[in-house]
């Protein structure tokens, strides 16, 4: 228990001095002869005068009672009251016009009382600050290293200016690595403002390259006005090394956003790479098939409102089936009559896209529909102070690569894939050797449309789900396929990532809209130079 006392005194000395010493001075005897059990001190809060409360609170924190943290938390949240009749200290939560009271330590329910029956144990701002520090102090000796770490981080963030000796002592009893590291950083931070240039210099050595904002600001101050020119120069070096690091991580972050945009483009375009690239069908309703996938996600979440966490796992196959079936229906009903007439196909599928858009407007509503992110898709993975990956973007990137890999395998290894490619390369010959080309056409189109549906599930996690969802992606998807080279899955793969990353690199200096326009202009010019895209298909069969 030596550690407990040490830590608490450290905390108190470090942070409590300025705020609480005056009250401590005012009532020295009370503290020295403080009652020893938690119940007693808590009970004394009911009758304590306002200026006695801080001292009592500190007494509570010094006890070795496990219940003290919960009590202090309730106090911090302003939930500690006393009943006027019995002068009993209770925890009270307001429910409309009444208070739900319970025992402040045991949590035993004591029923509802009127607002007049209780009085609040007053907590002002400086006491609140003390409470936070005391709770952090308690957390410092928690068994869980994570809790200790956040406590240290909290303490360091509260501008540590006093006695480095105490931080040194804290360090000697800490066993966990990350907590020790945090303490080291705190120490170095304190050293930065010490009188001794050697200490300041050593601290700079340690902090160089650290990305923490507080630390960066502290170093900047040294770099701007340190009396010792050597230290100042060193601080400038440290600062520039931090700046370099921040810049580097900035690039990594941009790259990540680029990859993420690329993955979205790839998902949106991959179905088109099948229907347009392999079959040569211009499907302007592709965007609406994506939209159907997103609406499927919405329907799945509405049907199983209690299992949002797994809704996406259900939605992916469901969207594949829904969009795939729509695709097959479109192919069998309309497109198959238009093979060899690409311009007419373009018009007819545009008509389909209008009908599908109006269909969801009529069935659902013209407004956007809410699709929720499961918990595992929300939030971000914070690698360090300046670099974070959003989970939804990360998972979609991974998902996109899995889908692409599965599709490549399907086309390479399975019978269906081989038949699809055979029909694409030479329809007459494929028919002659017994491939049912009509059947293959329907399935291929269904596959491409199903992939659009899957893209819709992914997009529902990133953007609004509304009737115009598909329109936003149709031009982009065509650009990707045309850029990458028609009839070539890898072309689509590289095309989408190249376009995605280029777009994100250009965005900071050009702005989002200009970046997009420049990309479009670039593709238009690129197509002039290289009409068959990045990876043109070669061979006699490809000449029209």
């Amino acid at each position: 228990m030596q550690r407990v006392v040490l830590i608490l005194s450290a905390v108190l000395v470090l942070f409590g001095l300025s705020g609480t010493l005056s009250t401590v001075d005012a009532q020295p005897e009370d503290i020295l002869q403080a009652p020893s059990s938690l119940e007693e001190i808590v009970q004394s809060l009911a009758t304590a005068r306002r200026n006695e409360i801080p001292a009592l609170v500190e007494n509570i924190a010094e006890l070795e009672d496990l219940r003290r943290r919960a009590f202090l938390e309730s106090m911090l949240e302003g939930q500690i009251y006393f009943t006027r009749e019995e002068q009993r200290v209770v925890r009270a939560v307001r429910i409309e016009d009444q208070f739900q009271i319970s025992d402040s330590l045991t949590g035993e329910e004591l029923g509802l009382v009127g607002t007049r029956a209780v009085g609040r144990v007053s907590v002002n701002n400086s006491l609140r600050r003390n409470l936070r520090l005391l709770i952090a102090g308690i957390d410092l000796e928690d068994e869980e290293p994570g809790i200790r770490l956040s406590a240290v981080e909290y303490l360091v963030s509260q501008a540590a200016t006093e006695s480095r000796e105490l931080l040194l002592q804290l360090r000697s009893v800490e066993s966990d690595d990350s907590v020790s590291l945090a303490i080291e950083e705190g120490l170095a931070l304190v050293d930065l403002s010490s009188e001794d240039p050697l200490l300041r210099s050593a601290a700079l050595d340690q902090l160089s390259g650290n990305l923490n904002n507080t630390i960066r600001n502290a170093i900047r101050q040294v770099a701007e006005g340190d009396p010792d020119p050597d230290v100042q120069a060193k601080a400038e070096d440290a600062l520039s090394s931090i700046q370099n690091k921040v810049e580097l991580y900035g690039y990594v972050q941009t790259l990540f956003f680029g990859l993420s945009l690329g993955s979205v483009l790839l998902l949106a375009a991959i179905g088109l790479a099948i229907t347009f690239g392999v079959m040569g069908v211009i499907n302007l309703a592709h965007g609406e098939l994506i939209m159907l996938g997103a609406y499927t996600t919405y329907v799945v979440q509405q049907t199983f409102p209690n299992s949002i966490e797994v809704s996406l796992l259900i939605a992916v196959p469901a969207a594949f089936i829904v969009s795939g079936l729509f695709g097959i229906a479109i192919e069998r009903g309309i497109i198959r009559f238009l093979y060899g007439r690409p311009l007419e196909t373009l018009l007819a599928t545009f008509g389909i896209s209008l009908i599908l858009q109006q269909l969801v407007r009529t069935v659902f509503s013209p407004q956007n529909r809410p699709v929720s992110n499961p918990d595992w898709m929300s939030g971000q993975w914070q690698l360090n102070e300046v670099l974070a990956f959003n989970y939804n973007r990360l998972y979609i990137l991974i998902f996109c690569i899995i889908v692409f890999a599965l599709l490549s395998l399907l086309l390479k290894k399975t019978r269906l894939g081989i038949e699809v490619r055979a029909v694409a390369q030479n329809r007459a010959m494929a028919k002659a050797i017994g491939v049912r080309s009509g059947w293959v056409d329907a399935l291929t189109f269904g596959l491409g449309s199903g992939l659009a549906g899957i893209a819709g599930v992914a997009l529902s996690q990133l953007t609004n789900v509304g009737p115009n969802l598909g329109q936003a992606y149709i031009v982009d998807s065509f650009m990707v396929v045309v850029f990458g080279g028609v009839g070539n899955l890898w072309g689509t793969f590289y095309g989408s990532f190249i376009l995605g990353i280029t777009n994100k690199i250009m965005e900071p200096w050009a702005g989002a809209v200009i970046a997009k326009i420049l990309i479009l202009v670039f593709i238009i010019l690129f197509i002039q130079k290289q009409p068959k895209g990045l990876f043109p298909q070669k061979g006699r069969g490809m000449e029209e």
Binding site: I282, P342, E344, L354, Q358, F478, V513, Q528
Partner: protein, 370 residues
């Protein structure tokens, strides 16, 4: 007399064209007269609303004519004609904007309202000269023509054809839309150009101005129709049709295919630009929405429904589809997109030659029976 014989010669064997011109001439007479001189109480009165509405349709017909020239006769399915139309419209819009003078909300004698709103202090250089009607009209045709020339020169030389061409033209109009939505472009951003007051000194809101505009639009449509008909009947036109049907063969014979295609495309863009310029005074606004890819695709459907490579089919299609659109969106707004989508599918599947082709097929059958 020479011009008369020219017209007769041009319309030889073009029954549809003759009917069309007769109808157009008649409407140029009927609409203004029945609007201006027949009292409102009379059943025969044609309201200014209808004059404006049909004036708009005539502009669309002109636009459809432009597309039919490129698509029907040269095989260039442009999904970007809306861009040429809108650019022409902006040319007219800029002229009308300058005519507002100090009657704007902010009363600035030089700067249009939106520029004052953006705290601009001087007119961007590209707005200079647009207070002159002749210059503005020249630009309204020249800028779309120039864009078409640059684009066509690049695209046709590298033999970008068919679907690829359609898609990158769509990307072009999409990019222009994004650009014109930006306030920094100096074209009024999102809101576009509006609040026009008068045109060459005449109040835009007055019935007489509207009627005159209607007549001018009708006459221009007739003139452009004759011009297009003349072109497609000429040797040049025959070469262009051959290029549509067998591009490689024409190239092997020794024709400079890309020059022919670029010429037709530029011509078509010029006409689209003129159509856009005529359109703006009728509707009183031009905004970036005109660049939307959907608009360009709608033009294609007008031509497809009317019947392509007939010229008069395009005019018929534009007027019919737009009339249907006006009716539908007024009565059953939800149904319009269903109907339009259905039309696309129906026409491509069952009426590959459009309405005009359908009627001539029916006539053919009747004749055989008889």
């Amino acid at each position: 007399m020479q011009s008369k014989s020219f017209i007769i010669e041009t319309l030889q064997g073009d029954t549809g064209g003759r009917i069309l011109i007769a109808v157009l001439l008649a409407s140029c007479l009927i609409f203004p007269v029945f609007n201006l001189f027949v009292p409102e109480s009379s059943v025969f009165h044609i309201s200014t609303y209808l004059v404006t509405l049909f004036g708009k349709y005539l502009c669309f017909a002109l636009l459809a004519l432009a597309l039919d020239l490129a698509w029907g006769y040269c095989g260039i399915l442009s999904l970007g004609h809306g861009a040429f139309f809108a650019l022409g419209g902006y040319g007219m819009g800029m002229y009308l904007m300058r005519q507002i003078g100090d009657r704007g909300v902010y009363g600035d004698p030089l700067l249009p309202d939106f520029m004052v709103f953006l705290n601009w202090t001087e007119l961007p250089w590209y707005w200079n000269g647009f207070n002159n009607f002749g210059f503005a009209m020249l630009m309204a045709a020249f800028v779309p023509g120039l864009l078409a020339f640059v684009f066509g020169w690049l695209a046709f030389r590298s033999r970008v054809t068919g679907v690829y061409l359609s898609i990158i033209l769509q990307a072009l109009t999409y990019a222009l839309m994004l650009a014109f939505f930006r306030n920094e472009m100096g074209f009024g951003g999102n809101n576009g150009l509006t609040d026009f007051k008068d045109i060459v000194g005449f109040n835009l809101q007055s019935d007489v101005t509207r009627a005159v505009l209607f007549v001018i639009t009708g006459l221009i449509l007739i003139f452009v129709y004759l011009f297009c008909r003349h072109i497609v009947k000429s040797k040049f036109g025959r070469v262009v049709v051959s290029i549509r049907d067998a591009e490689s063969r024409m190239r092997f014979i020794g024709y400079k295919v890309e020059n022919y295609k670029t010429s037709v495309f530029v011509l078509s863009a010029l006409i689209a630009g003129i159509a856009g310029a005529l359109y703006v005074p009728f509707v009183g606004i031009i905004n970036p929405g005109e660049f939307a890819p959907l608009n360009s695709i709608e033009i294609v459907i007008w031509v497809a429904i009317g019947g392509r490579s007939t010229l008069y089919g395009a005019v018929l299609g534009a007027i019919l589809v737009n009339y249907a659109k006006t009716r539908f969106t007024a009565v059953l707004p939800e149904v319009w997109l269903f109907a339009l989508g259905g039309l696309f599918i129906f026409v491509t599947l069952f009426l590959p030659k459009g309405l005009v082709g359908f009627f001539s097929d029916v006539k053919e059958k009747m004749r055989k029976k008889a």
